[in-house]
Subunit: 123 residues, 2 copies
């Protein structure tokens, strides 16, 4: 089984969690992954990445941070949840193979999302 774990920063405002749910539901419908879950990397936000992985059934989990850049949350905080060293991108946690993907920030689809924000106003 292949799983996707979407990692957000998290926010006190409920809209952030709603946005995470929107992406989860869209990707579930596409059927690329056997399961899609959500977690948060900022302090005190739940579920944490390790909690999410423990609840997942997949033996291979792709972890995708909805973060703009490779900051501390990406290089240190996220790996630490899986007992990885800073910068470590692959390993085993809770008996599952964990692969940490690049944060989405540089992706060309993000460039298109920026332009689309303007197109939406012109419709």
């Amino acid at each position: 089984m292949k799983g996707l774990l979407i990692v957000g920063h998290g926010s006190e405002k409920s809209h952030y969690a709603k946005v995470m749910e929107i992406h989860k539901e869209r990707i579930e419908k596409m059927g690329i992954f056997d399961e899609v879950e959500i977690c948060y990397v900022a302090r005190n936000r739940k579920p944490t990445p390790d909690e999410a992985v423990r609840k997942m059934k997949s033996d291979e989990i792709y972890v995708v941070p909805i973060l703009i850049s490779k900051g501390i949350h990406f290089t240190e905080d996220l790996p630490a949840f899986f007992n990885f060293k800073p910068g470590q991108r692959e390993g085993v946690f809770d008996g599952k193979r964990i692969v940490i993907c690049d944060p989405i920030g540089e992706d060309r689809f993000v460039t298109l999302a920026i332009i689309n924000a303007v197109f939406k106003l012109l419709e």
Copy 2:
């Protein structure tokens, strides 16, 4: 003249500014806008949105936040830089028409960026 102002949260790590530059350069090459500039909404990050607008020559500026959700940075901090009320999305600042677009978070292109982060590993 139509301008695009990309608003990031900002980070102490230099990679964040690099990601902003990547999007700016890609969008400049597309020629949709007469000018493309960058600014930051988090405390003490430079340039601030108002500083960026003052340097721009466009009479119409579309402001696009690279933020996931409609949190405090979007609803209160960003409008305040233009002397707008909380939640205000359009107005005039420095003699220019300012239009604040939705944050990119919910966009379908962001969903695709999440999936693409995994595809990139499989290449």
